[in-house]
Symmetry: C2
Subunit: 137 residues, 2 copies
Amino acid sequence: MTSDALVDALVRNTFQVVGVLTRIGAERDLSLTQLRVLGILRDRRPRMTELAAFLGLDKSTLSGLIDRAERRGLVARGKNPQDRRVVDVFLTPAGLELAEQMYGEVRHALTPAINRLDPQDRDQLVQLLHAVMHSPG
Amino acid sequence: MTSDALVDALVRNTFQVVGVLTRIGAERDLSLTQLRVLGILRDRRPRMTELAAFLGLDKSTLSGLIDRAERRGLVARGKNPQDRRVVDVFLTPAGLELAEQMYGEVRHALTPAINRLDPQDRDQLVQLLHAVMHSPG
DNA sequence: TATTGTTATACTCTATAACTATA
DNA sequence: TATAGTTATAGAGTATAACAATA
């Protein structure tokens, strides 16, 4: 069945990219989760609960993650003036710089793979991934 | 640039599929790594070092992973007659059944996404993923 | 009362270093 | 000596339950 081959390809592709992301994170002592946190915060300033939900993690897990990232000066906690229970999270300048740098390395690491496709195929792949990945299971 | 859009799509796709795999594993108290171990052992009987290298993990990490999976009756260690230092790893019948079951759930979970593509596009996507993912950075 | 976030606890995942057994 | 694997240790990631502060 074609759909089985596609599932296999998606899963294999996933572990391949996870490998690249993990390696690039590890070079800076960052886990895949921390790498993802930095990536998300590049253009957002969510509250703790929002970020936990987005990552699919418990809020207590996020407290620990943000504690450690804050201790390293990569993120900061801010008060929310509308609701004093809420804690907003955002990148420090150092965190933003690190995030941009690492995502540059991700692009660099994936470039050889991407260059195996001609421009038409790249566009096609982007379109197909968008089609497949919008609101999945 | 097109390649940036493709990198973004690949990374987003990766976290999406990781989310599906993590959820399906968690329903059986299996981490993403354990899920992957079971997936790999479906059709292989590697030695500890080979499996560690394939996963990109230290051999000591693998000892712990296999300890816990063995304690749950999912995998077993076997002696290697050629070299008595070597430990081979393989699935138990229970482990094989669980692995097949979970990978069935993965296919099921990804089916709605896949069904958003017509058969031609599915084939196309499989081909493009294969082209991109062979021996990446 | 309900929600937001933290803390305490326990377990898994992970790497490094030191070790045992075999080659 | 070198290689295969385990163990000891330490730290990060994770969820559950109990908690404090605010709504």
